[in-house]
């Protein structure tokens, strides 16, 4: 009897020890991105001095932060599912191009005003919907569907203005980039609004909790009776909306409808999400983690620019960061098969 109790004790103790160990690892994972961020800020303050640590540069960082933040938030939900969306280059570019085409511009005779913005975001939303539907109901891996849609969207964007990007001459939209409130530019406020809405969705709605559950183990959720397919499609739609908003913001900032704006967005966004601690295997992380990730990537880009580093190195560093962050967080073990 005593021996049995002892054995039981050791098993519980062992279990408790393992839980504690995992909790510790989780804590390290949660604070590691913050440490990276502070280390980086410290480094740039020392190296660049007042050029980096000035009010004008802080505003510049906030300005640069806006669009990557919106993109990365949309991507975060998809990655929390365990899927991925490679269509960013295309959807953001297409949304920007359509905005240029459908508001008052110098090349094409359309002027739908606010509806132009809705068309741009709506197009991106429907691409998200299509990606979700094809991925879920035809069972095609999400990276492949979105990979194909990246090119389709780019093609649509280029076709919409057939070669020459239109300049936006709508008086309201042309003024918006100059507007700022409390020293923070208008575009950043929109990004912060998107952020708040997404935090609300993730933390305070059933849908938000389902996203985590699907990412952790969708078979359990299916058994409980939640419509997993609907959750997945909705997530891709949400991502599509975020990418659409990002495209519109780019159009407003640039004053032009240009497909190519999407091109530099995908790698920083992927890097930001995984650096923030959202695991590619799904179920971990979230929007709040991604804020840290986006800050890391933006501060890095800003600091490298101030140091006068060759801008082409930036893409390479982003690639290495993606590799390192994924390698650190990916699920490993003898039973895991990675393809």
């Amino acid at each position: 009897m005593a021996a049995k109790q002892l054995a039981a004790m050791t098993i519980t103790e062992e279990f408790a020890a393992r839980v504690r160990q995992e909790g510790q690892r989780e804590r390290i994972m949660r604070y590691a991105p913050m440490l990276v961020l502070f280390g980086m800020i410290l480094f740039f303050v020392v190296v660049c001095g007042s050029a980096f640590a000035s009010v004008s540069n802080m505003v510049a960082i906030l300005n640069q932060l806006a669009i990557p933040l919106v993109v990365a938030i949309g991507l975060t939900f998809v990655i929390m599912l365990g899927g991925i969306d490679l269509s960013i280059n295309g959807t953001v570019g297409m949304s920007c191009a359509l905005l240029g085409v459908f508001v008052l511009n110098n090349r094409l005779p359309y002027d739908f005003g606010i509806f132009g913005i809705m068309i741009a975001v709506g197009a991106s939303l429907s691409v998200g919907l299509l990606i979700g539907l094809i991925h879920v109901y035809l069972k095609v891996p999400s990276f492949l569907v979105s990979f194909a849609f990246m090119y389709i969207c780019k093609g649509i964007g280029l076709l919409s203005y057939s070669g020459q990007p239109p300049t936006i001459i709508d008086p309201v939209l042309a003024e918006l980039p100059k507007v700022s409130f409390l020293g923070i530019p208008f575009i950043t406020w929109i990004a912060l609004a998107v952020l708040l809405v997404c935090i609300f969705i993730q933390e305070y709605t059933a849908f938000g909790r389902y996203i985590y559950a699907v990412g952790t183990d969708e078979t359990i959720l299916r058994a409980v009776g939640v419509s997993v397919n609907k959750v997945k499609v909705m997530v891709f739609v949400l991502a599509g909306i975020c990418f659409g908003i990002a495209g519109v913001l780019w159009g407003i900032r640039l004053g032009m409808g240009e497909v190519m704006v999407g091109d530099g967005l995908m790698f920083p966004a992927q890097a930001a999400v995984v650096v923030g601690g959202t695991s590619l295997s799904g179920g971990k992380g979230g929007v709040i983690h991604t804020i840290v990730g986006v800050l890391v990537m933006t501060v890095l880009a800003n600091g490298l620019l101030l140091m006068g580093v060759n801008p082409y190195i930036k893409t390479g560093i982003e690639g290495l960061i993606i590799l390192a962050a994924v390698a650190l967080t990916v699920a490993r073990g003898p039973k895991v098969i990675s393809k």
Binding site: Y151, G155, L158, E318, G319, L323, V330
Partner: protein, 335 residues
Amino acid sequence: MSQKSVTDMGKRMRFRENFIKYFSFSTIVILIIFFYSRHQMFLGPANLRTLLSDSAPLIIMAAGMTLVLLLGSIDLSMGAVCSVANVITVQILNGLGAQLGSPALGSVMALLVAVAFGAFAGLTLGCVHVKLKVPSFIASLGFMSLWQSVAYLITPAPVSVAKVMWGGVDWNKITFGVVGLPLILALGWVLVLYVFQSRTSFGRGLLAIGGNERASRIAGIPVDRTKIIVFMITGICAAIGGYFLAAKLRSSAPTVGVPFTLLIVASVALGGTALSGGRGSVLGTVLGVFTVSIIRNGLNFMRVDAYWQDIVFGIFVLGAVTISVDRSIRGVVIK
């Protein structure tokens, strides 16, 4: 009753397996007839020569990608590796070739260095994927970003092959009738890969791993080694593609490989290789490449906006993948 349904299922499976190949083949025939009826010049020797020689780099790269897809993995970094190899080739040809005073020797050196780089790129990608268990698409995405930046760092702008060095790239212009030397070399390379894939134990192991990795491991196939070697072959294919492009264009550009990423995936998918692994062959890919090349060439010939091409090939990738995806097993979680 049940037996009949089983044979029916077998028939349907086999039909579906070959459906894409039939589709590719009939697309080729229909498109040739269609374009020929619109423009008699489509089958003229000049256009036929362009069409055939243009497909050579794509054939080589797509053949490499086929092997990776047979494993069930994917390599999205091929376009970027091709760009780096392309840039290296012209740099060495212009630099070392001039020093050696022989275009041919410079060209051979350039090929060797490019292939060595391709093998290195494949080795690193394979090791990161296999040893660190990073899924291949995200690992290759990271490397795509990395190699793209390397290509820009070597030469940020396009560079032409110096005129005295043209002797090193003029092999690309040799033709026999309408068939050019590049196409013959590319088909020869495909044949080598085909024999490698279908007649060696390594190749059979490759298919087995794609079909069921766990079973292959238990059966004693060296899974990790096979995978890394396959990624190395793919890297080499991408590098040779870059070398061929340098010879064809007589210049290098750090972005030359960018459009190839989609074209490669489209060719392999249209060639009947299942993206889930284990089914398909290098020869089918050649069929897929010709489908892609004829569509590209025909669209250019008809003066259709080049922007349509991305849309068309994107939809083709989606369609081919959707058909070839195995939906028969229930309960498999697809991410």
